[in-house]
């Protein structure tokens, strides 16, 4: 058994399963309703695979109207709903429950409108992150947020979790790149929030919805900001003999007035695994490696790389290498973007996602090593150094009894350390089930109660993705 408890399923709902399925069958086409156990099993987990729950049923609506009808019905029947994009959440954000219906947006995957003069694109929420950029790349545009799972993950999931990515140092995260959404509330009401214009008056509901982990409504369409691609981009590699020197170099670069598009950090264990997988030319004899990417014209790139190299020279860098070709650039990024997958080949891992003030980097990295050593576990660090968003991968062997629990305990200690130094539990993955019980370390009762009041106001029965984000005990208090 794992450490995170799941509430007991509602027996009254389980007993009415046939009736609920019959109701759903009246609302969506047959191909949009999945009821057979072996097919439902495909939806039992997400990228936090340690947790599995086979849902009551799965619906895959084709239209906003169908989503509206399904939610209105489930609300009336008092049945829980877990909205699902591509199921790539590392935090268990899309983990079903046995007494819940999974509402997947995968059939709503059309690009609806591209407006180049106004630099916007309107898509159905099931379009993948990369699919958005793909729809405009031939026009010289792209969609900026780029989570590592961008090939698979959907805009719906990106909005739910306010996803980031390696390039958000310059371009911001999802919330900075979404202009509007069409969303269905639990009672079936369809609302449109925002639009192609900027900064609607009234409360920033768009800002509230982004990152609300599917607990306030189901987003079915989104209006996104697209940007012209840079003339060129080039990554460079820079090794350091210590985390301290590496951290100081990052601070000096940013302090100089240069905001690279990305500054990614890998420690020695991560470098080794990623290099073995991607053959990116990463140096194997350094304690810390930075991938720094700059953009612009050829001359601008040369200039920025020159400036960065000069600044970094004070911090004893080694193995300086600037990509010389498209192929080299692709390999450098392949190593980084497939890091989690590469790591998965050698061990099971828990991927943490805390953010810290960047000045605390050396202290926290030492702390992470000590915590993991204390549990007899290994750790590899891969993260966004420019904004202090850490991704320690706590390695363990799932087949060894007790190791998952140890990894979870180590992960929890790491996140508590992040909060202790002025940071937070999650920078871009979301709370999900994974960090639900840790919320009390970042928020007090007053904070949590106010957040839960908003949840209750929009979803009085707590049917939308109910066992996520808030500690179970706190949730009981809110519902009572």
């Amino acid at each position: 058994m794992s450490a995170i408890l799941m509430p007991k399923p509602d027996q009254r709902v389980l007993a009415r399963r046939d009736e609920i399925i019959a109701g759903l069958a009246r609302l969506v086409p047959p191909a949009s309703l999945i009821t057979a156990e072996d097919e439902r099993r495909a939806y039992e987990t997400d990228a936090l695979t340690a947790y599995r729950q086979i849902p009551l049923a799965v619906v895959l609506p084709e239209t906003t109207e169908q989503v509206s009808a399904v939610l209105a019905f489930l609300n009336q029947e008092g049945v829980k709903v877990v909205a699902r994009g591509a199921g790539t959440s590392l935090a268990g954000g899309a983990l079903p429950a046995e007494d819940a219906v999974v509402l997947g947006v995968s059939k709503m995957n059309k690009v609806l409108d591209i407006d180049l003069p106004n630099r916007t694109i309107r898509v159905e929420a099931g379009v993948t992150n990369l699919g958005v950029s793909g729809a405009v790349s031939h026009l010289g545009f792209f969609y900026a947020p780029d989570p590592s799972s961008q090939l698979a993950c959907t805009i719906a999931g990106n909005i739910a979790m306010n996803s980031g990515g390696a390039h958000c140092l310059k371009y911001g995260v999802t919330t900075n790149n979404v202009l509007g959404v069409k969303m269905v509330l639990i009672d079936g009401t369809v609302v449109e929030i925002g639009g192609p214009h900027l900064d609607s008056p009234g409360y920033d509901l768009l800002g509230l919805v982004v990152g609300s982990e599917g607990q306030l409504g189901v987003v079915t369409e989104a209006m996104l900001r697209i940007l012209p691609m840079a003339e060129g981009a080039r990554p460079m590699l820079m090794g350091f003999q210590s985390a301290e020197e590496c951290g100081a170099a990052v601070a000096a670069i940013i302090g100089s007035g240069i905001i690279p598009v990305a500054i990614e950090y890998m420690d020695r264990p991560a470098i080794k695994v990623c290099e073995a997988f991607a053959h990116a030319g990463y140096p194997l004899d350094v304690e810390a490696l930075l991938i720094i990417e700059v953009e612009g014209s050829e001359a601008e790139i040369e200039d920025l790389i020159g400036r960065i190299t000069t600044i970094a020279a004070d911090f004893n860098p080694s193995n300086l290498k600037v990509s010389q070709s498209e192929a080299e650039s692709a390999a450098i990024w392949k190593g980084r973007k497939s890091a989690f997958g590469a790591m998965g080949r050698i061990a099971d891992y828990m991927c943490m996602d805390g953010t810290i003030p960047t000045g605390q980097l050396p202290r926290v990295l030492t702390g992470i090593s000590e915590i993991c050593a204390g549990y007899g576990l290994q750790v590899a660090n891969i993260f966004h150094a420019g904004d202090g968003n850490l991704h320690p991968l706590v390695l363990f062997n799932a087949n060894q009894p007790g190791e998952l629990e140890k990894a979870e305990a180590a992960g929890a200690d790491i996140l508590k350390l992040c909060v202790e130094v002025g940071g937070c539990l999650t920078g871009e993955h979301g709370v999900g089930v994974e960090k639900r019980e840790l919320m009390i370390h970042q928020f007090n009762t007053i904070d949590l109660d106010q957040q839960m009041r908003v949840k209750t106001a929009l979803d009085p029965q707590w049917l939308l993705n109910p066992h996520k984000v808030f500690p179970l005990a706190a949730r009981e208090r809110a519902v009572a």
Binding site: L116, P117, N118, R119, G140, M161, N162, G172, T175, N176, L185, T189, V191, G195, H197, L198, D199, S200, P201, G202, Y203, D204, L205, G207, L208, G211, S212, P228, E231, A251, A252, I254, G257, I259, A299, E300, D303, T355, P357, T358, G359, D387, G388, N389, G423, C424, T426, G427, E428, G430, V431, M439, Q442, F443, I446, D447, Q451, V454, A457, L458
Partner: protein, 388 residues
């Protein structure tokens, strides 16, 4: 006589709001008093943040600053200038437009979700605010976000409080991320374009990789269209030259640099060209950029509006006569046709009491907003009526 409450600490503020909620005695929330925007608030007492001042955290190497709400924006900007850093969202100073005196505060900047010409590239206050502490209408202090650059822990109340005009909570500390100041800036100026052609030119410019950080058009004789580049000097001149060549079909572009360029954008940011006469009101209209010229033409025809287009045409500032409904019916009808919103930024007290100042929300959005307001301020004591 309206009494003014001046809490010096979060605890004092909590006590005041708690008492106000218990006695259902509304409070008008004031910062520096430079943005008297919105509907007149009906409250016997003013709660001022003027005694809650000071920068509480500034870490230049981490690009982060935090301050109490009554801290003057000028104090923050002076501190940042010492390290060549800035609040990248370029907050408007409403004093010229509103004829206001006093000193803008960081609390006011936040509560109004201020921005400026750089909005199109860098975002508004909401995009740079990373942490907030606030006393809700329940008299309870909540926090959201923190001091780190990326944070998705819990609901994003940072966004909700930015632009809430003091109706959800009274902020007690705000934390912003910063960006380095640009080494220099260059502005290309094209004269004589119609608003339609100007918006086409600006759209073309924003479709290039040259990172335009300002795109505005001021009608007149001649009209002037402005495009701003910021960054290292060599990069600015390179991008300006490339764009100048690309925009040749729109006319010759003159380059203005350094302090002269900064003066242009300060004037556009603060809408100085429309500094209104006493018999004029001023509307702020946000639409998609390509809809800007048609809105402007309608208002110029029907209301004899003087106009300024920012945000590549997406932000239309328009004057209208300060009589009747101040042009509300015409402005709202024009915006309704294309989608967007209009705010009556400047108007006499009586006019702002008579017509909705902010764009009326759709029924669905209004219902959600009302529910959210009720969770933060169930007694309705914070700035009642200001945004209604």
């Amino acid at each position: 006589m309206t009494s003014i409450l001046l809490p010096e600490s979060e605890a004092e503020l909590e006590a005041i709001v708690h008492e106000a909620a218990a006695s259902r005695s509304p409070l008008a929330i004031h910062g520096g008093g430079t943005r008297d925007i919105g509907r007149p608030v009906q409250a016997a007492r003013i709660l001022s943040t003027q005694a809650m001042t000071g920068i509480t955290l500034y870490e230049p190497t981490e690009l982060v600053i935090a301050a109490r709400p009554g801290t003057r924006l000028s104090e923050i900007e002076a501190a940042l200038a010492q390290n060549r850093q800035r609040l990248a969202f370029e907050p408007i100073d409403y004093r010229p437009l509103l004829g206001a005196h006093g000193e803008p505060t960081i609390g006011g900047v936040t509560a109004s979700n201020a921005s400026g010409p750089r909005r199109i590239q860098a975002g508004a206050a909401r995009d740079h605010l990373i942490g907030v502490r606030a006393v809700t209408g329940r008299g309870e202090t909540i926090k959201s976000g923190g001091r780190v650059m990326k944070n998705v822990t819990g609901y994003d109340f940072v966004k909700l409080l930015a632009g809430s005009w003091g109706t959800l909570g009274v902020m007690t500390e705000v934390t912003y991320k910063l960006l380095p100041e640009a080494e220099t800036e260059t502005t290309l100026v094209i004269e004589g374009l119609s608003a339609e052609r100007a918006v086409e030119a600006m759209a073309a410019a924003l479709g290039t990789p040259f990172e335009i950080t300002g795109a505005a058009h001021i009608p007149g004789a001649p009209s002037r269209t402005y495009l701003r580049f910021e960054g290292f000097a060599a990069s600015c001149s390179y991008r300006a030259e490339r764009l100048r060549a690309m925009l040749r079909p729109f006319g010759a572009a003159e380059a203005v640099e350094h302090a002269d360029s900064r003066a242009i954008w300060r004037s556009i940011r603060d809408v100085e060209p429309l500094r209104a006469a006493h018999d004029e009101v001023v509307w702020r209209i946000s639409v998609k950029p390509s809809d800007g010229p048609a809105i402007g033409a309608k208002l110029a025809f029907a209301l004899d509006s003087r106009l300024l287009y920012d945000w590549a045409g997406g932000l239309v500032w328009a004057t209208a006569p300060a009589k009747g409904d101040g042009g509300a019916e015409i402005v709202r009808a024009a915006v309704a046709l294309v989608g967007g919103h209009a705010t009556l930024i400047r108007a006499p007290f009586a006019l702002r009491a008579a017509v909705p100042v902010f764009q009326p929300e759709t029924a669905g959005v209004a219902a959600i907003s009302k529910k959210i307001k009720a969770t933060f301020d169930p007694s309705g004591v914070l700035n009642p009526g200001r945004v209604s």
